[in-house]
């Protein structure tokens, strides 16, 4: 398995863990609030902001730890060259991420158009965010392993 495949798996797992943590937290906080109230919307807004910030912070820490452990075990350091194939794989993975997130966004807006509660829209947005993130990492693994 290539360095980038392992990195994508670790990154994907950390993203899912962070999402579960914040998702359970927002579910707990919004459970006592009335659906569509300002307080409920505020909680969802805070959920997305904290989720994004935590994702970035956790990813940086996890990648530092991953690089250390990977170097110790395999004696292989992070590749310094990013060549055309790496860039092509990144483009394809980001394309898949964008398609998935766009589909989720469309679904969330459809829920609003079909008179669903606001919480449903945020739920769909949250799940499309994590699904798109997982597809991004899975795409890296798929493309690197298929052509390895």
């Amino acid at each position: 398995m290539t360095y980038y495949s392992k990195k994508a798996i670790v990154s994907g797992i950390s993203s899912i863990a962070v999402f579960i943590f914040f998702y359970l937290d927002v579910m707990e906080k919004t459970a006592s609030l009335s659906v569509g109230s300002f307080a409920s919307l505020k909680q969802w807004g805070m959920f997305f902001i904290y989720l994004l910030l935590a994702e970035i912070a956790v990813k940086i820490i996890v990648m530092i730890i991953f690089n250390m452990i990977n170097t110790m075990i395999t004696r292989e350091s992070e590749p310094t060259i990013v060549d055309e194939r790496d860039q092509l794989i990144e483009l394809k993975a980001v394309r898949n991420f964008c398609f998935t997130f766009a589909a989720g966004f469309f679904l969330a807006m459809s829920a609003l158009a079909l008179n669903q509660p606001m919480n449903v829209m945020f739920l769909i947005l949250a799940f499309s965010f994590i699904t798109a993130g997982t597809i991004l990492e899975a795409s890296y693994v798929f493309y690197y392993e298929r052509e390895a």
């Binding site: 290539t2 590749p79 060549d83 055309e84 790496d86 052509e147 390895a148």
Partner: protein, 82 residues
């Protein structure tokens, strides 16, 4: 999935050049070893620039390192017409 029609003789050429390793070739071309592996296995077709750089490492013209499988392409075209 589209089939790769670009073939190469990099494995043979590496062997003939003092059994050059994939890592050595990768360093000379300026790509990662994984990219050389993918090109050698014909799972990835390199850009024209990388193809020329590989050919230059072996001191050969491009067409002696890479070839295009025109027969299969023509057969596919005939099958599609049928």
């Amino acid at each position: 999935m589209t089939k790769n029609h670009v073939h190469n003789s990099i494995r043979k050429l590496r062997f003939l050049h003092d059994e050059m390793t994939q890592q050595q070739l990768a360093e000379k071309v300026g790509v990662t070893r994984q990219t050389i592996v993918a090109i050698e296995k014909e799972k990835y077709s390199p850009s024209l620039e990388v193809a020329f750089l590989i050919a230059r490492v072996f001191g050969l013209p491009l067409e002696e390192v890479f070839s295009f499988d025109t027969n299969n392409k023509e057969n596919e075209g005939e099958n599609n017409e049928k």
